[in-house]
Point group: C2
Chain length 425, copies 2
Amino acid sequence: MYAEIISVGTELLLGHTINSDAAYVARELSALGINLLYSCTVGDNPERLEAALQTALDRSDIVITTGGLGPTGDDLTKETIAKTAGKKLVLHQESLDRIVEYFKGRVMGESQKKQAMLPEGCTVFPNGCGTAPGCGFQTANGKTMIMLPGPPSELIPMLKNYAVPFLAKESGAVIVSRIVRVFGLGEGYVAEQITDLTEGTNPTAATYAKDGEMFVRVTARAKDEAAASALCEPVVDELQRRLGDFIYGIDVESLEELVVKELTRRGLHLACAESCTGGLLASRITDIPGSSAAFQMGAVTYANEIKTLLLDVPEETLRQYGAVSEQTARAMAEGIVRKSGSELGIGITGIAGPGGGTPEKPVGLVYLALCDGKQTWVRKMPGNNAKKGRRYLRWLAASNALDMVRRYLFDLGGLEEAAYTAKNI
Amino acid sequence: MYAEIISVGTELLLGHTINSDAAYVARELSALGINLLYSCTVGDNPERLEAALQTALDRSDIVITTGGLGPTGDDLTKETIAKTAGKKLVLHQESLDRIVEYFKGRVMGESQKKQAMLPEGCTVFPNGCGTAPGCGFQTANGKTMIMLPGPPSELIPMLKNYAVPFLAKESGAVIVSRIVRVFGLGEGYVAEQITDLTEGTNPTAATYAKDGEMFVRVTARAKDEAAASALCEPVVDELQRRLGDFIYGIDVESLEELVVKELTRRGLHLACAESCTGGLLASRITDIPGSSAAFQMGAVTYANEIKTLLLDVPEETLRQYGAVSEQTARAMAEGIVRKSGSELGIGITGIAGPGGGTPEKPVGLVYLALCDGKQTWVRKMPGNNAKKGRRYLRWLAASNALDMVRRYLFDLGGLEEAAYTAKNI
């Protein structure tokens, strides 16, 4: 089975948007064992889109388009595909109802309605995060066409929940994927450790890097789910043997999800005092539904006087060691535990840059402290990551804080092991 | 002048790598006034690459390849291009010297040498960050071929320093783009208001939606920058007439950047007390470099007792009106102003979901308060956005808070106008 992706959007050809959709779709195709031979991008131009569609339908079995399903006049993907594939566009009442419901209590433009017009007889992919539904159908000469919306927030869930099952059904196989999430080791390093595992074809194992973490995706194809899961198992076990407690979870979403779940299960509470991360840690924790059971208070103490006012960080400590120091991080963590009455407290202070660095305290230097009311542990992120940028450094600092809580909760040790936290990332 | 990009690399078709190179190249082309009509990706496969090259050379004047210039066996771009364009590969001594120098003191594999083999008579683009040089040349029938390396760290500088100057000689025009950013109106709604403007060809105007905001990009092409800017101006002016103060900035990055800049310029400070946004507002503000000048303190008061402890929200208020109420938001904003000594304070309380909603207080209901020490304004986000999900609701709440600060700072009024804040978003 050969597939081809056609990404539609003038913004892609102007370089205003990086085409991440193609990569998301490509990953799912390779997990399905479908060969992607070409991926191409055309603008919001019906003639060129039609030409690209013709070429794709001639040389591939499956053609997947991303983008161009919106309400505006230059969103022409659906009309052009219908024309090229010789399909009529008909109103899909259920989609129209969804769109009307979506705009309930708000003004809905007439143009929104055209999003409910879909190729006759197609399988509709509902859009849970936006208005434009996607769809899949067979062309007259047995090719498979799939249309997906452009915004990643709409494409990613539709891909997983509707397009992949649609394709799997066509290939008559069931796919099972396991995600093995790793914090503290880089993709390049892990890839070297598991080369033999990544050479398999069923199950496949592939490494990915994202936001200072990496993960391994193990995917197997079989006649039913049980058989596919059984194929994945030995590889997942071997990964656990080789990567040990750098693996923070299998099929979990994120460090914050893992930490919130375990805190909740144990009836523990976490509070955090943030300087350089400026609320990012609290924001990541409270992104998890139900986090209020485990999280009561966060303090963003950007100014020194606020560190003293809110967390009783001694002015003497700030004067003697500076705001970015092990001592200040420690005092912040201990202060937030006292203040919040939570069992666990995090303190984070560092230099996120781009300014504010010195030879002694370079951009990227971050001290993280975890206090459990009896003991306080401090982890140091060396400032050797400056060129990664402010956003990345703040994210990595918050991730390190979550990793310290994880290692504390699961009694893994390594809370203070600074070396590896930046190593290979 | 029509251009086409061919990205070479199996890792792109497996989705292991997101193709950012194509976007970098596309931006430079559009800045040069060169029309990019197609961008396609092929694997490390000589037959398919040759086919793609043939197609590209038939329909475009300029063909730019990225990737496949490395030393390994599957790096076949150069060989394939030379074959397709009927060019001989010859040793470029200067490039070989560079490569040898690059490996000085390290083992240099024989295979590295093949990177110094380049099409006869080409213009060589030295690689300042790696080993593989790029190049540009004219084919027998007057088409322009350009080869660039895949790693962005090598491609980006080579593009700016060598490829763009090489191309500039072949193009007369310059492109200017203006970004008009809008908060409080949806893309569909705006698109209908400006249909006539989006039908132009020079300048063009296109609408985009992102994270609960929308923006209009106005792009013009002319012989020089002044002329291109002059073409954009009337359209930008007309957009301002039609969209008024829903436009929060032109060529600014984000609401938070605008707010931080204006606070800093005026020597004012903002503090925020967050419940449902859980630190997201503070995190977005402190994402802006230099925000410490305008931001001193944030409080994430998730639990009721913390609202009282930290912000002196009267227990009576919480009991009588509930944590999610206009009164509590007001008390939070006033409390954070008192506590932080900042001139401006924000209070946010709401129901981000997915759980916790009731008929009276549905998921998505958020109260936002802004206090300047003398007066307090409250904006209400009605709970009709539940489907958008927790992450989106939190983001939109933080954006509304920033919009209130913007309207306060620029004296625009509408601080409390709840209706439109969710309308059409």
